[in-house]
């Protein structure tokens, strides 16, 4: 039996920063969940609008309860492991996909006073932890014992490895201009009005970054790892119930992270005309997310050779030239 006072002392010994991170992780989980509910609804409604049909309409007024119905269905489904699969690794994969997304939200400055953990290496942290997602997709594809899953995983590796390079090269000009990896400081270096944001100084870097972000989050037109018309569902073909739901959640979480980073780096973060705050940040993030959804339902999927040609023949040279010009201007 441990005395209650001893437990209290042990709790007091835990540093306050650790407590803040723990509370922040809880807040992040609920934020990701709410975003996923909203984005599922938005995605289906926008898709319906573009296809000239009403979209989900039956569950609740204008179908607003549809995401909840989807969620309940996924929770109720049977958990199923394919024969011959390494079941430990098979169920580890969706968790590895989800966990890094939680960490990335810790360093994003949502508002002037709304950031869970202000660190000098925020940008590097997001790059490092979003890179782990590739590994999760590989494990999922490999352990599924299914050729479609394996093909999806192989496609994902070549796509992610290729697009990581122009992604980093398009972030570097911003890092050189601000001289910091701290996301809060990068946001603070930009003014309230749109012409004071970095998108005006770095339009090319913004376009390259946005294309690469689409490719890294496996969004259409770069959704080759899960191309439903070619590979059934790609790397998550075999997953059912919550395993599939976790992959789904993490995909939406990475989309939100990509939109948040774009907003901080290029669109002034939480700054806006009038009073700056988290409302501007959320507005920008949601405009970017709507653009992502719009692109998904507008463009056809690229072919694999086109995907690699866009990256190696266009994005990387353009990003290098952009970086060199930026360096020249800064040096002068």
């Amino acid at each position: 039996m441990i005395e209650p006072i001893l437990i209290l002392q042990m709790i007091e010994a835990i540093p306050i920063q650790l407590m803040i991170i723990f509370a922040g992780l809880l807040a992040t989980v609920s934020f990701i969940g709410l975003n996923a509910i909203l984005l599922v609804y938005l995605e289906r409604k926008v898709a319906g609008f573009i296809h000239r049909r009403p979209g989900p309409y039956e569950v609740g007024p204008h179908g607003i309860l549809q995401p909840f119905a989807d969620g309940l269905k996924l929770v109720g489904k049977q958990i199923f492991t394919p024969t011959g699969a390494d079941s430990f690794l098979y169920w580890l994969a969706p968790m590895i996909s989800m966990a890094p997304a939680l960490v990335c939200f810790l360093v994003i400055p949502f508002g002037p006073h709304l950031q869970i953990f202000n660190t000098n290496v925020g940008m590097v942290l997001i790059l490092a932890f979003t890179g782990i997602n590739v590994l999760a997709l590989c494990i999922a594809g490999w352990t599924s014992q299914n050729k479609y899953s394996l093909l999806g995983a192989a496609r994902d590796i070549s796509q992610s490895v290729a697009y990581e390079i122009p992604l980093l090269l398009s972030i570097l000009p911003i890092i050189f201009m601000t001289g910091t990896f701290n996301l809060f400081d990068i946001a603070m270096k930009q003014g309230s009005w749109p012409w004071q944001w970095f998108i005006v100084y770095q339009p090319l870097a913004f376009i390259i970054f946005f294309i690469c972000a689409l490719a890294e989050t496996n969004r259409a037109p770069f959704d080759l790892p899960e191309a439903e018309s070619e590979l059934t569902a790609g790397f998550h073909t075999e997953y059912s119930g919550m395993g599939f739901a976790l992959f789904f959640l993490s995909e939406y979480a990475y989309m939100v992270i990509a939109a948040c980073v774009t907003a901080v780096l290029f669109l002034g973060g939480f700054h806006g005309p009038g009073v700056s705050g988290w409302w501007w940040f959320l507005a920008k993030v949601y405009i970017l997310l709507l653009i992502m959804i719009w692109i998904r339902w507008t463009f056809p999927r690229v072919r694999f050779d086109q995907l690699l040609n866009i990256c190696w023949k266009w994005l990387i040279p353009l990003a290098v030239i952009n970086l060199l010009v930026t360096l020249l201007v800064i040096a002068l």
């Binding site: 580890l92 590097v124 942290l125 490092a128 590994l135 192989a154 490895v161």
Partner: protein
């Protein structure tokens, strides 16, 4: 009392990391499936990244995750996927005792040499580590250590060019 509690917590965190690293190493060596071995390796790399965080070097720790977990282990995974190696392969038979002893010696030797060298020449440790700014790190690499830094980049360029040339030669033969 408060000081003692935080010191105990520090020891727990340190040995927790060491336990993760050692466990990852054993998984890597002992598991039959190549993918599980790779998972062990990744666990070890994460543990080492955690040690960098403990020493107040978050930039190095994140670079460890970005490069080793995000890139190197993904490439190893790609190689494993291409070979299609399953646990019942050629090398899964019984191993002779002699081989086990040699393997253990080969594993311990670098640990002993590096460990003794590190203990003998270690700078005096500080109780609370100080975080080095990334900009200072960059100046440190580009001012006193510019020659080794550039040599490493030359080495990488040579390796990359060599890989490209090898790839082209393979294609010509077909």
């Amino acid at each position: 009392m408060d000081n003692l509690a935080s010191e105990n917590l520090a020891w727990v965190v340190l040995f927790g990391h060491i336990a993760i690293i050692v466990a990852g190493g054993f998984i890597t060596v002992l598991s039959e499936s190549l993918v599980r071995a790779l998972m062990g390796l990744i666990l070890t790399l994460f543990g080492v990244a955690g040690l960098f965080f403990l020493m107040a070097a978050p930039f190095i720790g994140l670079m460890q995750i970005l490069i080793y977990v995000g890139a190197v282990s993904v490439l190893i995974f790609f190689a494993i996927m291409l070979t299609n190696a399953w646990p019942g392969g050629d090398e899964s038979g019984n191993i002779s005792g002699k081989k086990v002893i040699f393997a253990a010696l080969a594993a311990i030797a670098p640990a002993v040499f590096l460990g003794s060298a590190a203990i003998r020449t270690a700078p005096p440790s500080v109780f609370v580590p100080e975080e080095t700014q990334v900009s200072e790190l960059g100046k440190f690499l580009l001012e006193p250590y510019i020659l080794p830094f550039e040599l490493i980049s030359l080495l990488l360029t040579v390796a990359m060019a060599g890989a490209v040339i090898l790839g082209f030669e393979r294609r010509k033969k077909k």
